[in-house]
């Protein structure tokens, strides 16, 4: 059963070849056996999962059609709130924090008959690109345990690649779903901003954050996105009017589809193997009938600055709620109220979180607001205009996800700027609120996975998913898993 796609597992459960509890137990056992190596899980909710499995089994046996993924175990990035199950954001600040409400996506998973079996490791408060900044140790890449899994949803990608879970939910603020997918050789979707409720997602940068699926192939991810998308009165930025319904038909070719290839993404600062794999994918898509045309991506120099200004500004504001009073870590040393705030935050937050809070406080501070924060918001408008223009010419844009494959653990932790520059191909998607799917498209000389992304216009998920189905129908990179699994 381990190794079935989520949709295949759901079908086996529906036809009662496999029991829900049997599936849940198989994955729990696998996590128990191998997670000490990957460190992908922060919490395993065995008891809750087995109880839920019984409830869901009864409904399925009674013939209730809950969803396309009913009975399938799932794990969640540890910034998604779960009632009664510890939710830490991989931070000392939230060690032992047990939410008293579910994120809206968790309620939707429950209605869909999915079984949450645990919470996944990440960069602290989703700030990072390697899943090393968390307080509970780094996630290891299943393809090479001496390397990072990517981040910030590194636990999600590693758990799927290591077959610890059929499918997972992560979040993407500047590439946090797509980049770990690329590093671990799995498939993921960063949905259009406003298509999935953020209620109960512990905020990093609210105007950029979006929850999305990581799974074994595009069909699994599309099925999960259908379940979690849709309006929510608890999140007024969730502007979608109804959940996504994706067509069941799988096209074989891409006739009439125009794909833009940003030529300046391939000039410098990109590994030769990544470049070759993504360009080979462009040829594959062309041979499937798509028309591939190069263009020059505008504003490239300004993407990383605009992203880090906006994200850190919002982070400094969002994380001001952690004061040691209502929830979260409280320093035992604070004798006055001011000391409680300052010491709790100083002791509770890790280095990268403090770095981003400081940066955010700086760009918002009087005297610098116009030069940085306002400027970044203006750059964002220019970027959105540029994408609007591009999508008049192209159906989708093909791009690398990350300039490199997975690097060694510890290699970049002391060089924050170098880490930030790794986000060059992903951040514009969040700044413009667009959808993107990340797909495996090759391996480098050391056998490490390489990923590509398709970027589409807002709410053009259907188009991206159909193109991804064609690509995965013609290639087998997405089916590869590390030999030991």
């Amino acid at each position: 059963m381990i190794g079935l796609s989520a949709l295949e597992l759901a079908e086996a459960v529906r036809s009662e070849q496999i029991g829900v509890a049997e599936a849940v137990k198989a994955y729990l056992e696998r996590i128990e056996n191998i997670d000490s190596q990957l460190n992908a899980f922060l919490t395993v909710s065995r008891k809750e999962a087995l109880t839920r499995a019984e409830v869901v089994q009864k409904k399925i046996s009674a013939g209730e059609r809950l969803s396309a993924l009913a009975g399938v175990p799932i794990a969640l990035k540890d910034n998604i709130s779960t009632t009664g199950v510890t939710t830490t954001c991989a931070s000392k600040m939230l060690a032992g924090y047990v939410p008293v409400y579910n994120a809206s996506v968790v309620d939707k998973l429950e209605q869909a008959g999915m079984i949450v079996i645990g919470k996944l490791n990440m960069d602290e408060f989703a700030m990072g690109g390697s899943s090393e900044t968390g307080a509970f140790g780094p996630v290891r890449n299943p393809w090479d345990m001496t390397r990072v899994a990517g981040g910030s949803s590194g636990g999600c990608a590693a758990a799927v690649a290591g077959r610890e879970i059929p499918i997972a939910l992560g979040s993407d603020t500047g590439g946090s779903i797509r980049q770990p997918c690329s590093f671990c050789g799995v498939t993921g979707i960063k949905p259009t901003y406003g298509s999935v409720s953020r209620y109960g997602l512990i905020a990093y940068a609210s105007s950029l954050d979006q929850i999305g699926p990581l799974g074994q192939d595009i069909n699994d991810c599309a099925a999960l996105l259908s379940i979690i998308s849709g309006p929510d009165e608890k999140d007024r930025t969730c502007v979608i009017d109804k959940p996504f319904v994706f067509s069941q038909s799988v096209p074989e070719r891409l006739e009439g589809i125009k794909i833009g290839l940003p030529s300046n993404y391939f000039h410098s600062g990109i590994d030769a193997a990544v470049k070759d794999s993504v360009l080979a994918a462009a040829e594959e898509l062309a041979s499937a009938g798509a028309e591939v045309e190069e263009f020059v991506m505008p504003l490239m120099d300004f993407l990383i600055p605009a992203y880090y200004i906006i994200a850190c500004a919002e982070a400094s504001s969002n994380l001001s709620r952690f004061d040691g009073i209502r929830y979260g870590y409280r320093s035992a040393e604070g004798k006055t109220l001011a000391e409680v705030y300052r010491l709790s935050r100083s002791e509770g937050f890790g280095l990268e979180v403090k770095r981003r809070i400081m940066l955010g406080s700086f760009v918002l501070s009087s005297g610098y607001y116009d030069a940085y924060y306002k400027k970044a918001l203006q750059a964002q408008v220019l970027l959105k205009d540029a994408y609007n223009h591009l999508f008049k010419c192209f159906d989708l844009i093909l791009s690398p996800v990350a300039p490199t494959t997975a690097y060694k653990l510890g290699e970049n932790v002391d060089d924050p700027l170098k880490m930030y520059l790794g986000d060059i191909y992903t951040v514009s998607v969040n700044l413009a609120g667009l959808p993107s799917v990340a797909l495996p498209c090759g391996f480098d000389g050391q056998g490490l996975p390489i990923g590509l992304q398709f970027i589409g216009d807002a709410f053009a998920e259907e188009k991206l998913i159909q193109a991804a189905r064609v690509y995965q129908g013609r290639t087998d990179y997405h089916t590869k898993r590390p030999g030991w699994t």
Partner: protein, 95 residues
């Protein structure tokens, strides 16, 4: 833009983060290397561009002003470090 150690200390104070001298020196160096890169944005021509917070069209949504289920007092206090008599407990603020 060069951030001085004093400015870094000011930022830390604004963010309610306590820092010793060694940490302040480290952060000053790192923030300067990051800001040197971020400063690239200054050459971008943004005259006449209206800044925006959300890139998607958001509209005000009205609803009736009705009482909805909410957290109980017990739930709201469940994760607090110190509570007393159904309230959060903090060090004395007024002598």
């Amino acid at each position: 833009m060069k951030i001085t150690a004093d400015e870094a200390a000011k930022m830390a104070a604004l963010a309610q983060i306590k820092m010793n001298e060694r940490e302040a020196a480290e952060y000053t160096g790192e923030l300067n290397s990051i800001m040197a890169y971020i400063d690239r944005i200054k050459v971008l021509d943004t005259d006449d561009i209206q800044p925006t917070i959300y890139v998607l069209p958001l509209q005000n949504v009205w609803r009736e002003d009705e009482v909805q289920p909410c957290l109980s007092n017990e739930q709201a206090l469940a994760n607090a470090a110190e509570t007393e008599a159904g309230m959060y407990l903090v060090p004395r603020v007024i002598e």
